[in-house]
Point group: C2
Chain length 180, copies 2
DNA sequence: TAATACGTACAGAATTTACTGTACAAAATA
DNA sequence: TATTTTGTACAGTAAATTCTGTACGTATTA
């Protein structure tokens, strides 16, 4: 049937585009495709349905779904009388975007920051010693300066992510009203 | 010498942390390390110096530098009397962060958006035909709705990135004053 | 103009990442 | 309790990415 063909074709096109996009989020291509599939699905899917639909192994579906769950992009839903696990896409794109930064970026920034704090403590301890060679002191002071700047920058990023987490960013960049 | 050891050790620690962090930007681990190296270097480096410092091939250095250049994280500098190309890190972290979204995210979003616009046009053309089956029409209308929502979301992301590009975001999340 | 130096394209090697199939633990059914 | 079903751990395989060395075009020096 001609019309179904068109529907199918347009979906595939969009799914490809979404999958492409997902690498921004550090997501594997097949998890990206899965996400696209869930985007269009009007009902939650089981691992077996995904496997069927994408022609991949069930194990792959399991790991892909897990990676999407980790990013809060997908959720498990419970349906009465259904024994299998069911998964559906999280419809709130904005929340999803915010969660991404709260989960991935925040973690990375925190780790980075604390490594730098620790290093800075070492350096400060070093220069506390009054009889270290002058060149060493200078070197240490320069590194401390660099680390301080970088830590300030991470602090800024953290404040930005705070505004995502609290959704205060929406006061600054509002979601446009739906035309009813 | 003991003190130099400490300086070196703290640097290595920070470089590792930075390299780790860089995968948020979709950057290869060795390009991440290179970035860390440049972070501490007090002078611009040549490809040969990088190669020396990281113990890698010159070709790798060339491609890593290029990927960092593409993201505006590094710049080529000209030094009088120096025949080789010299590269240095871009010191303005904020600009660098903004550029990342302007370059990578904007591109991805635009591609995604236009794929969706195109698909939507197809679907609208489909439902314009008065004698298509009812189930097909419903299906198409549902897809159109989903695409519209998603396009609105991309519009929001674009406005956010606009505020990065124009730095207006700094009115909302300000950079804290330096303590002098 | 000839000779040397520099950076990168390209192809192949090495490493990493992604995928599959089997096996098994946990849970549901009979 | 025995049987079946479901999801995932794990190990091996396939695929993709990253890295290296050679070769070569371009630019600089002699």
């Amino acid at each position: 049937m001609k019309e179904n063909e068109i529907l199918e074709r347009t979906r595939t096109m969009v799914i490809d585009a979404i999958a492409q996009n997902m690498n921004l989020y550090g997501i594997t291509p097949s998890a990206g495709r899965l996400y696209g599939l869930l985007f269009f699905s009007d009902k939650p899917l089981t691992l077996d349905e995904m496997k069927e639909e994408l022609g991949m192994s069930k194990t792959s579906m399991s790991t892909s779904v897990r990676s999407l769950l980790d990013l809060n992009m997908v959720e498990k839903v419970w349906v009465k009388g259904e024994r299998k696990d069911l998964y559906t896409i999280k419809e709130d794109w904005y929340q999803c975007f915010f969660d991404f930064f709260t989960i991935k970026w925040r973690t990375a920034i925190t780790m980075n920051s604390s490594a730098m704090e620790k290093s800075m403590a070492n350096l400060k301890e070093l220069i506390a010693d009054p009889n270290i060679p002058e060149d060493i002191r200078e070197h240490a002071l320069m590194d401390i300066k660099k680390l301080e700047e970088r830590i300030d920058y991470y602090d800024w990023q953290n404040r930005l992510i705070d505004s995502f987490e609290t959704k205060e960013i929406l006061n600054f960049i509002p979601i446009k009203d739906k035309k009813e």
